[in-house]
Symmetry: C2
Subunit: 187 residues, 2 copies
């Protein structure tokens, strides 16, 4: 069924972004809600969101709370209005940085730490050629995850400098290139 009304078009876009957000490990509802707010422009009340997206009051409440925790939606106060209104953050880079900072970075660090501990155990226990080969392979995995961390750090650093438009990506390209060149061999 092709969308024809404005509302259907809105849902089509919201669903597409919902899929992206789900792909990144969040609830679909977060992406859909952000998109509706983003497209609408003006702030919307919780009840509006619930109606547009067919969500219960409870679901809307939890969703906007989480979106605020991630800094991608703000509560705005509208004079003379008793209800809370919400509007979307519109700076994509800001949003992505935040997520990379708090999620990807955390995972990368935790993974590197665990691989490191595992390698330490294998090293300590020694063993024959097979055991040494195992330590070596774990080392490769460790190198790889260290590199992933470097890419993430480069990205975050490029954000801090804050260029306009595509500048961030340009800076990232340069920094990753430099970091990779500096770190040297093995991957």
């Amino acid at each position: 069924m092709e969308p024809t009304t404005e509302h259907e078009a809105e849902l089509l876009a919201a669903d597409a972004i919902g899929d992206v957000i789900e792909h990144w490990g969040f609830r679909k509802a977060l992406g859909r809600t952000w998109t509706v707010l983003y497209l609408h422009g003006d702030a919307l009340a919780a009840a509006d969101l619930g109606e547009r997206l067919q969500m219960s009051a409870g679901a809307v409440s939890m969703t906007v709370t989480e979106l605020q925790r991630w800094g991608v939606v703000r509560k705005v106060w509208i004079p003379g209005e008793r209800r809370d209104f919400f509007e979307a953050e519109t700076d994509f880079w800001k949003m992505i940085s935040k997520v990379v900072q708090e999620r990807e970075r955390f995972l990368a660090v935790s993974v590197r730490e665990r691989l490191g501990r595992a390698q330490a155990v294998l090293k300590r226990r020694g063993g024959g050629a097979a055991a040494r080969a195992r330590v070596e392979r774990l080392g490769r995995l460790l190198n790889f995850s260290t590199m992933a961390e470097t890419v993430i750090e480069s990205f975050l650093a490029s954000r801090r400098v804050d260029f306009g438009d595509f500048g961030n990506l340009l800076a990232l390209g340069r920094q990753v290139t430099a970091a990779a060149a500096g770190k040297g061999r093995k991957g």
Copy 2:
């Protein structure tokens, strides 16, 4: 509880990679299984995997089948052995390319297509200033997803050229930089 035996260390590493793989939207078991094969070096039989990871025969079968579909595990035939043995692909870049190619790329294309359709509807319906602003914002989202696609294509292209070690990353840095510079403004 700190790991002390070789087996515990293996599980610690397998679990760490399992988390990464889950973060990328696959089943944890895929990451764990690949890691055990990778660390072990020599091919293992399904029953070995089941014992090491405490999985039922059914789960092992489904898991190695899926890993083979993704090209990250191979079935090897061992002369004189009746059972199937499995070994891990060891080229990380090869594995990641495959996933990016089949999953990220697919999603990026599908999202861009849907956003495009949504924008077409809004454009067709016309409307006042608010409606025009909505079309414009949807355009920004569309630009952004086009850019994401470009980054993905650059990555895949850099892989095809195939440099050693960190060369891929260097090439990616250069290509993304070039692509971003070429595409121009707005992000």
